[in-house]
Symmetry: C2
Subunit: 212 residues, 2 copies
Amino acid sequence: MNRDTGKHAKENITSKREQEIMEAAVKVFSKKGFSGATTREIAAEAGVAEGTIFRYFKTKKDILFSLAGPFIVESLANVMDEVKGETDEVVLKAILKNRLNLVKNNIDLIRLIFTEAQFHHEIREQFIENVAMKAAGMLERFISERIWEGEYKEIKPQIASRALVGMAIIFVMWKDFLMGNKYIQFNDEEVIDNIIDIFLYGIKKNRMKGEL
Amino acid sequence: MNRDTGKHAKENITSKREQEIMEAAVKVFSKKGFSGATTREIAAEAGVAEGTIFRYFKTKKDILFSLAGPFIVESLANVMDEVKGETDEVVLKAILKNRLNLVKNNIDLIRLIFTEAQFHHEIREQFIENVAMKAAGMLERFISERIWEGEYKEIKPQIASRALVGMAIIFVMWKDFLMGNKYIQFNDEEVIDNIIDIFLYGIKKNRMKGEL
DNA sequence: ATTATATGAGTGAGTACTCACTCATATAAT
DNA sequence: ATTATATGAGTGAGTACTCACTCATATAAT
């Protein structure tokens, strides 16, 4: 993800202080939710006085929006280049692995945005346009091509891509949900391999695997 | 789901008033989140005085817990009976359809519980034990059997079942997320059919479908 | 049948406390 | 010396929760 925080597209430079406050805010909002968090806590976490927060952000809500606003999906271009010419299996695995890492590295912020998207339509709309639609589009195009080439079944690419994303997401959610819990965890590599296997050899017309 | 609300296993009868307050609470909590909701709003929504709430619930938190506590997954036994002897395809579709309806009918409460599970470990633990584990176990057993019989690939049943659930969940989340949005919706029937198709003919060793 | 007494669900004004935001003052940077 | 930045005590609107009181209904007394 590419974090970059000029409040309203203007002054795009974020000072060190501003960054510190934003990082503290992610922590506190994640832990208590936006409404449950207090500006006093955020200030303490950031190591500044409460008043300082309001020098950088007009309102508490503005802090939240500054976090959610510039949440842009990092390009997959590099990854895609690296696996150019490889089998679908390799390509899809590379994509999933890359996205999963992205999610892992930003899990708090992502969870926060998802949660608060329920209550703030600005965040919801931002997220749908900047993240969901773009990310979905990428996979959709990949799948559309293979359908066109007659390699995949005639399924709606939107449904297929979402199914794949769904399989991946649930493992993140599950893991995150169980944090510090006694229940079983899985090895990421194994999970990705299995997901791709289920996905591909269900959608591929010419099977070359799992034929017994 | 089976809602049944005696606070602590004792007096299991909930008066009409209590029910009214609880229903109002689901609405207000759903819309504003637990912290963002006020007891005044809940009272207004329920059509009672603020004081009345505290005659039935000791604290605001107790209202939330009374909602999340008795959230028990309705048995699938009936559905399973109806499709006894049918193909996997039919059985799995019946299960998914049934669960999907359950979710649809309780979407507000479910979203609420998911959200607040982040902030209240009591809810999180309750949910994991009463819902997640039981629901997952059911599918896992189904899949384990087929693996044992040599009908499915040697995949960890926990991974397989979660993958299936993931595919289903994302469509609910997506739909819920986009509520009143311009983007495309899908037909439930079609989605379920596609999900099962992807799942089954990816996991089944003896293919009989999609062979071109 | 009529009247007196008791009950307890329901009320809403009041209380103690919280929290986002302000502003006069101090400190640091130029 | 002037300007920019930071501070944190202070403010007032709001909030969870309390409690003295009401009043419709049930029960007992006549």
